[in-house]
C-alpha cells in the first residue's frame, strides 16, 4: 500500500463514519415508530397502505408470527420475480423484445434476488426487459434489504426489551425501512450517479457508427441460426466486419443506487460495476463504496442506541474495521505486485505517475489497482457482490481475500441487517466461550445466554459452512459440475469454491469464468442461497424471541464487559477461529496452491 492508497482508505472511512452516525439516529427514530418532520408528507401513504392491507401498526408479533410473515412475504417475491421473467415477452417496457427466460435460470434469479444474494447466471443487457429489471429485480433490491434490516431490528429488540415475548411487527418494519430509509437515500444517490454519467432512460438500444471498421471472426450459422460444426467438431469460423456498435440503454441509475445501498450487487449489465454505464468515474466508484457500507455501519450505531449503551455499537464496529483494514492492505499489495510471468515477458507492471501498473487483467483504467482493491474488499466484506473488476482474474492471494471475507459469514459490515445479526451471533458465541473459560453462565447485554440460544447459535454458524463445503464437494465430483470450470488446475477448484461460498453467504459476486447458467449450477446455487439466507434468519428470530422474554440482569463485578478492547479482540478471535477451522483445508487446495505455483514459475 502506498500513500495514495492509505489516504484514500482514510478518506473513505472518515466519510463513512461521518455519514453513518447521523443516519443511525434517523433509522433509530424511524424503527421505533417516530415520525420526524421530514416524513410527515409520506405518512398518509403509509397509513393508507396499512388500511388497505388490514395491518394494525401497534400489533406486536411473537417470533413465530414474525418469521411466518417474513417467509410468506419473501415467497411472494420469488413467485413475482419468476413470473415476470417467464412472461416478459408479453409485457410492456420491453423495447428490445427480450424473450422469456428459461425456467431454471428464472428460478435461480428469483431465489437470488429475494435472498439479497444477486448472484447472476444471466447477462443483463441481453436477457432482461426493462420491466423485469424494474418491477422484478429493483423491487427485490429494496425488499430483501428491508427484510434483513427488519430481522436485525427484531434481534436488537430482543436485547433491548425484557419480560416480553414480542419482537415487533414485520409488516410495519419492512414498510417503514423501505419508505423512510431506502427510498429517499436511493433517489438522491441515483441522481448523483446520473450526474456522473450513469444512464437512466427507457429508450431502445442505440446504434453508433464507429470511427473505424472492426474486423473479427464469428461462428458460421445455418439457416436456422445454429452454429455449423466443421469436421473436427468445432464451430466453423467466418470473417466478418462491422462499423456499428450497439449502445445498451435502460433505467440503470435507479437500480444502481439500491443495488449498493441494499448490499444487493446485481448488475444491470453483465460487467456489473465495471461497466462504464454503471460506474463511469472514480467519484461514482467512491460513492458506490460508501453506499455499500453506509447502512451496515449505521446499523451498528443503531444497535448501540437501542440497547441504551452506545459503546456496545462502537465495539462491534471496531472489530469490523480492524478486519476490514487488514483485508484492504493484503488485497492492494497482492494486486499491485502483479504477475511475475508477465514481467518476465517484458511487460511493465510497475506503478508510476504514468500508469497504475500491477495486475490489470480484468480491471478498468479509471480504477487502476487502488480503487479496485478497495472496492473488491468492500463488496465482499459486505454481502454486496457488485464487482468493478473480474474477480476470476485476480492474483491467487488477491482472490483468497474476498473468498475468505465471505467465508467469515459476511460479518465484516456484511449485508443490510444480515451483517450485524451475523456479528451479534458471533458476539453471543464469544461471551459463551469466555463464560466457559471462567466457569460462569455467559450473559450479553444483561441477558443470560442459555442452552436454547446456544443451540440456535450453533445452527446459524454451521449452516453456511455445511452448504459451502458439501455443495463444493458434490460439484467437483460430478460431470455437470466439472463441465463449468473455465480455468485449469487449482484455479478451477477456486472457481467452484468461490461460487458456493458466494451463494451460501448471500454475496453474489463470482469467479465469472465458471459457466454457471446451467440447470446443475442454477439449482445447486439456488439451494445454497435459499438455505444460507432463511436457515439463518429463522433461528435468529427464535433467539430474538427468547431473549426478549428474559429478565434483564444487573451488571456486577463478574460481568464480562462487552464494550472494551478485550471484547473486541475476543470477538475478532472468535470470527477468525471459526472461519479458519471451517475453510483452511479448502483454501489450501485452491488459492494457496495457486499462489505458490505462480511464485515458483509453474
Amino acid at each position: 500500500m502506498n500513500t495514495a492508497a492509505f489516504l484514500q482508505l482514510g478518506l473513505f472511512l472518515f466519510v463513512l463514519l461521518a455519514l453513518a452516525w447521523p443516519l443511525a439516529g434517523w433509522i433509530t427514530r424511524i424503527m421505533q415508530g417516530e415520525n420526524p418532520g421530514l416524513v410527515r408528507f409520506v405518512a398518509p401513504l403509509e397509513r393508507l397502505i396499512y388500511r388497505l392491507a388490514g395491518i394494525r401498526q401497534d400489533e406486536d408479533m411473537g417470533w413465530r408470527g414474525y418469521a411466518v410473515a417474513l417467509l410468506l412475504f419473501n415467497l411472494l417475491g420469488v413467485l413475482a420475480v419468476y413470473a415476470l421473467q417467464r412472461l416478459q415477452g408479453m409485457l410492456p417496457f420491453n423495447p428490445q423484445a427480450m424473450a422469456a427466460v428459461s425456467p431454471d435460470s428464472s428460478f435461480n434469479t428469483a431465489i437470488s434476488f429475494v435472498t439479497n444474494t444477486n448472484w447472476q447466471g444471466y447477462s443483463g443487457e441481453s436477457t432482461m426487459s426493462y420491466l423485469t429489471q424494474m418491477l422484478g429485480l429493483t423491487v427485490q433490491n429494496f425488499l430483501s434489504a428491508a427484510t434483513g434490516a427488519a430481522v436485525v431490528i427484531a434481534l436488537i429488540r430482543g436485547f433491548a426489551r425484557h419480560s416480553s415475548a414480542r419482537i415487533g411487527n414485520f409488516w410495519v418494519d419492512v414498510t417503514r425501512f423501505t419508505l423512510y430509509v431506502l427510498a429517499p437515500l436511493s433517489l438522491v444517490l441515483a441522481l448523483a450517479f446520473t450526474q456522473q454519467g450513469v444512464i437512466q432512460n427507457l429508450l431502445p438500444y442505440q446504434t453508433a457508427t464507429t470511427v473505424e471498421v472492426s474486423h473479427f471472426q464469428q461462428a458460421k450459422l445455418d439457416a436456422k441460426g445454429n452454429p455449423v460444426n466443421g469436421k473436427d467438431g468445432k464451430p466453423v469460423m467466418v470473417d466478418a466486419s462491422t462499423r456499428q456498435q450497439t449502445l445498451p440503454m435502460g433505467p440503470v441509475a435507479s437500480q444502481e443506487a439500491i443495488k449498493m445501498l441494499g448490499t444487493n450487487g446485481g448488475g444491470f449489465f453483465n460487467a456489473n460495476s465495471a461497466h462504464p454505464y454503471e460506474n463511469p468515474t472514480p467519484l461514482a466508484n467512491f460513492l458506490q463504496d460508501l453506499a455499500i457500507f453506509l447502512i451496515p455501519a449505521a446499523l451498528c450505531f443503531v444497535f448501540g442506541r437501542m440497547v441504551g449503551d452506545r459503546r456496545q455499537g462502537w465495539a462491534i464496529i471496531a472489530a469490523m474495521l480492524l478486519m476490514f483494514v487488514s483485508a484492504v492492505v493484503v488485497e492492494t499489495g497482492a494486486e499491485q505486485a502483479g504477475i511475475p510471468q508477465l514481467s518476465a515477458m517484458g511487460v511493465d507492471q510497475h506503478a508510476s505517475s504514468l500508469q497504475a501498473g500491477g495486475n490489470m487483467e480484468g480491471k478498468e483504467s479509471r480504477f487502476g489497482i487502488i480503487d479496485t482493491a478497495l472496492f473488491t474488499v468492500v463488496t465482499t466484506s459486505a454481502s454486496c457482490g457488485a464487482v468493478n473488476a473480474m474477480h476470476d482474474s485476480l492474483t491467487p492471494l488477491g482472490g483468497l481475500v474476498p473468498t475468505f471475507l465471505m467465508q467469515l459469514g459476511e460479518v465484516v459490515f456484511g449485508g443490510v441487517g444480515s451483517g450485524l445479526y451475523g456479528m451479534l451471533i458471533f458476539a453471543i458465541l464469544a461471551v459463551f466461550i469466555a463464560g466457559l473459560m471462567v466457569g460462569r453462565t455467559p450473559e450479553y447485554l444483561g441477558k443470560k445466554i442459555e442452552t436454547y440460544e446456544m443451540k440456535m447459535t450453533a445452527i446459524t454458524i454451521l449452516v453456511t459452512p455445511v452448504l459451502v463445503l458439501v455443495l463444493t464437494a458434490i460439484a467437483v465430483s460430478v460431470d455437470p459440475g466439472k463441465a463449468g470450470i473455465a480455468n485449469p488446475g487449482a484455479h478451477g477448484f477456486s472457481e467452484i469454491l468461490y461460487a458456493f461460498t458466494s451463494a451460501a453467504n448471500n454475496n453474489g459476486s463470482a469467479f465469472a469464468g465458471l459457466s454457471a447458467n446451467t440447470p446443475f449450477y442454477n439449482i445447486m446455487t439456488a439451494i445454497a442461497m435459499f438455505f444460507g439466507r432463511f436457515l439463518m434468519i429463522v433461528p435468529i428470530l427464535a433467539i430474538a424471541g427468547s431473549l426478549s422474554a428474559k429478565k434483564r440482569l444487573a451488571v456486577n463485578s463478574g460481568t464480562l464487559p462487552t464494550h472494551g478492547p478485550l471484547f473486541v479482540v475476543l470477538l475478532i478471535g472468535t470470527v477468525l477461529l471459526v472461519g479458519a477451522l471451517n475453510y483452511v483445508p479448502a483454501l489450501a487446495l485452491g488459492p494457496v496452491v495457486e499462489q505458490l505455483q505462480m511464485l515458483s514459475g509453474h
Binding site: L135, A253, P282, Q355, G357, N388
Partner: protein, 190 residues
Amino acid sequence: MTKILRPALVLFAALSLLTGLAYPLLTTALAQALFPHQANGSLIEKNGQIIGSHLIGQNFSGMRYFWGRPSATSPQAYNGLGSGGSNLGPTNPAQLAAVKGNLEQLRKAHPTQTATVPVDLVTASASGLDPEISLAAAYYQMDRVATARGIPVARLHQLVDDHIIGETFGLLGEPRVNVLELNLALDAVK
C-alpha cells in the same frame, strides 16, 4: 391463514408499485430534466449521427489511431451487447498466451519503441468496453501514430497531454486518456 395472506399480498403489491414503478419512473423524469446528456448515454453526435459515447470504448486497430485496451467481448471486441472480461486466471496458460500474442502484435506495430510495454495495453479490461488507457500506454503509441499521420511527435505529445483526465480531488482514480476523444481530436488536426 387469510389473516396473514391479506397483509402479505396487499403490502407486496403496494411496495412493488412504489419501488418498482414509481421510483424508477420518477428517477427517470428527474434525470431527464436535470442531466439529459448523461441520462441518455453521454452520446457523441456528428452531423446528426451517433458516432459513439464518451463512456464506451471503441475498437481501434489502424496505424493512424491510438489503440485502446484489449477487449474480451465476443464475437467482436468492444461489443456493447456483451460486456465482460476474459475471466482468465493468472496461472492459466491461455492467459499467458493471450498476453504474449498481444505483446508480439504491439512490438511489431511499434518497431522504434524500446520501452517495456505498459501492462494495460496487453491485458483485457473488465468490461471489455474500457474507454480509457493509462498515460504510459498513450505515450507508448505516439511514435507510430506520428509516423502514420506525418505529424511531429511534439505536436502529438501536446495533444495527448491536453486529453489527460487527472485523479478526482487529486486522489480518486488513475490519470488516464479517453481513446475515442483523443482519436476524434486527432482527426480534427489539420
